[in-house]
Symmetry: C2
Subunit: 222 residues, 2 copies
């Protein structure tokens, strides 16, 4: 029986333009009302997750910055800004990246728009700084090593004393792979990347928010 | 013909617990898709308004801190923090108020939970500091004089060259009164305060988000 749902936001409970899906929102609330813990994890910032928590009426902690920080009634920061900022400054100085608006609210990661190629110019440099580069499908992020959605999932499983088979994760993009762990139930909307679909127990018929609503409405089948 | 809709958020496009209304969200998008400018104004902070703008897919600028700051692709700050902060520190020192979580993201207002009585202890002191006190129904705010939802409405009317009769405002609480200006069309959900209902051209049959959805779905009648 599923006791915890951990879902991505962008492309998973939104449409392709990033607009929040009403059907997914409604199902999230239904699932929470049925007694299941519902949490969200995103590359976005704490005040954005504060907004989701308040205006979706969620009770569980939510995770920002790919798992690097958590909000409930107060904010918990699991990683620091030192390495991501140092690497971002380096990229900026070399003219390889431009910061994004939400950086002013970040605690332990930096977002960027690439001005150089990620594969050939940016990624190779990241090892020197001991940071990781991910893409949510909507923006690029510089993160500490170990700062990923799997970290958030581990935290929740420990906090609530859950076994893997009691957890359902939902995501669509490469940065969701760290929470697609062994033993955990995995579902994806139809727009998900091939690498996610390969790992999924269930692929929804619909894409984006409608796909996640479909998944959430049949939770008892997982 | 209505060319601009300016709406409050809390209690107006949410339910009584502050959860975003799906029906109001859908109608907001329909109205924008029909070519009407849709903006929101709230006592909440810029990153919360950033979240609404992104995840509702709104194109117009939105207003935070009761009109004191605006977000579109960048942030514009119309007022400063000097006076609100000075007054907040005074209240804190006297044990009359406690700060709220969103204060860390504020630019030109402070939110507080009263520890003393607002009417007898807090309001009388505000004149000394040349600040104003308002309540959104969900929290108390300290603002600069002139920093209110009417300021936001004036800004939008000037920017888009609109006459009062081309504007519809929707709100439910006392801090919405400054945008309930002469000549402007005014509508309220059924949960609105009596002072708003007295000024309204239309009172919806339903309360909260469902009431605002009802208003937005009959825009041609205003």
């Amino acid at each position: 029986m599923i006791k915890l749902v951990l879902s991505d936001i962008d492309g998973t409970i939104t449409d392709s333009r990033r607009v929040l899906s009403s059907s997914a929102s409604e199902q999230i609330r239904n699932v929470q009302d049925s007694g299941v813990i519902v949490s969200l994890v995103s590359g976005n910032v704490i005040p954005v997750m504060y907004t989701f928590r308040t205006y979706l009426g969620l009770k569980a902690p939510l995770f920002a910055e790919n798992g690097g920080a958590m909000i409930e009634d107060s904010i918990t920061q699991f990683f620091t800004m030192d390495r991501p900022m140092a690497f971002f400054r380096h990229l900026e100085k070399k003219g390889l990246a431009k910061g994004i608006m939400t950086n002013q609210w970040r605690l332990c990661s930096m977002g960027f728009d690439p001005l150089g190629t990620v594969e050939n110019e940016i990624s190779p440099l990241s090892a020197q700084y001991n940071v990781e580069i991910t893409n949510s499908g909507f923006s690029w992020h510089i993160l500490n090593v170990g700062q990923n959605k799997g970290f958030a999932l581990h935290y929740l499983m420990e906090r609530y004393g859950l076994r893997p088979e009691e957890v359902l994760v939902i995501g669509d993009n490469l940065n969701d792979i760290p929470m697609f762990m062994d033993g955990v139930r995995k579902a994806v909307p139809a727009n998900a990347e091939e690498e996610l679909k390969m790992r999924a127990d269930y692929i929804a018929r619909s894409g984006y928010g409608d796909g996640s609503a479909e998944i959430l409405s049949s939770l008892e089948s997982f």
